[in-house]
């Protein structure tokens, strides 16, 4: 069986966030599974995410887990809730420490992680006019 995460990682390498959406129940999910976790459906279509999200939680990391991360501390590891519903881990970038608020609106970017991987990160969304 194909690795259900592979399409997500392939898209990351192109700076794209695509989500598996069930063609039976219409629900998007993460982390990717071979079957829709909501209805069990196996017909999954990969669609481009809007990139809109809100901050579900965060932690400012002060101690690097490995030498790769030592130059980056402190950095912000976050959980974000995508507009399509699913949740994912990410980095929160370009936000002053006193401006971080759970529930704040975020926008998708891509960045290289210290290990070299291209990964989604999120920055504060522009205030709508």
């Amino acid at each position: 069986m194909a690795d259900p995460i592979a399409p997500l990682l392939d898209a990351y390498a192109e700076d794209r966030l695509r989500l598996p959406i069930c063609e039976d129940c219409g629900t998007a999910h993460l982390y990717p599974r071979a079957r829709c976790p909501h209805c069990g459906g196996t017909r999954l279509a990969w669609r481009e995410a809007s990139g809109a999200a809100e901050l579900a939680s965060y932690s400012v990391v002060h101690r690097a887990p490995s030498p790769d991360f030592a130059a980056e501390v402190p950095y912000v590891v976050a959980l974000v809730r995508l507009a399509e519903g699913p949740q994912m881990m990410a980095r929160l970038v370009d936000v002053p420490p006193d401006a971080m608020r759970i529930g704040m609106r975020l926008a998708l970017r891509f960045a290289a992680m210290p290990g070299g991987e291209r990964r989604p990160v999120f920055a504060p969304a522009e205030t709508p006019p």
Binding site: Y58, Q87, M89
Partner: protein, 390 residues
Amino acid sequence: MTAAALRHAAIVGIGESRLGRVPGLTALELQREAAEAALADAGLAWKDVDGLLTTPVRTESWAMPCGMVAQGFGLDPRYIATLDVAGASGCSMVMHAAMAVATGQASTVLCVGGQPLLSHRGRDATVKALAGAGWAHPDLEAPYGPLVPTLYALVAQRHMAEYGTTAEQMAEVAVAMRGWAAMNTNAQKREPIKVADVLASPMVTSPLHVLDCALVSDGAAAFIVTSADRARDLRQRPVQPLGAGSGFSHAYIGDHTGITTTGAVRSGREAFRQAGITPADIDVAELYDCFTITVLVELEDLGFCAKGEAGAFVQGGRIGPGGSLPVTTHGGLLSAGHPGLAGGMFHVVEAVRQLRGQAGLRQVPDAELALVHGNGGIIGLHCSLVLGSV
């Protein structure tokens, strides 16, 4: 498993190795200290053991931990397994040993685990090694650089935002654990601390300070489960499992929406249902305390208080010495010690001690019913036990 079947079994022996910094010993040597203490406590000999449960260790290259321990101890078990429910393993061992006894697979099961986690590599190197050990999803989480404490910090930050929980309230948990540890001569950290000390300790991963996090320790624990019939003829007052339950919500924290509610809801509900009691009946609660936030979430999910109210619940020393709900009375992972998967076994050992009335200075008066809870992984794996003295 029905409650009636669980009650065919009893815990009849408990033991701890030296805990804290115990240099120069292998995992097997630490486990032998604990196992010999448990056998002596029960009045049993090695030849009486016909079942073995153990947990994986990080400090040895053991492909088959139960085989290594059985061979190391010279056992001849007819029931043998390595059990791994992460931090919930201690509670789960009691459940599985009771099932083995109830079904006749063994008459006397030695449950033992532990390792020299601190001496092996030191605290900081161990924390770093754990960050790459698979607790974070290797592709979807680890590249962002979370420590294991970061994964719990996400729960804490969300709990603070949703319910107004404060850093001071979380610190109360650490203070309570240290208060209990001061009365435990085997505890790794015994000097008293105050809320201000927790808040002044270095920030590891906000909102968790060093003193919000478990220790890294050398140590091992053991307990012996046999039939209730046999237990009557042994040295100690038997302690019986009256209810047991497991719960699972997720493997990776990022995969779990609603992170402030956990599988402890299910495990606790089942354990209480089987025992025919409610949280209000519990005299002492030995709750898994890998981080201060873990205890708050468990208090809520197990039903000791409503969701969102644990911060206020623990204020004023309510779960510490002299408090109305004594919690984790040996000092827990935060102050007594945390040697990895065996860490939660010490909570079982302490519950038995309390129910026998052998807890010395930290004895909870008239303790007859204990709740023991183990939490594993990133707050996704749970096992709850109700234990009672016979």
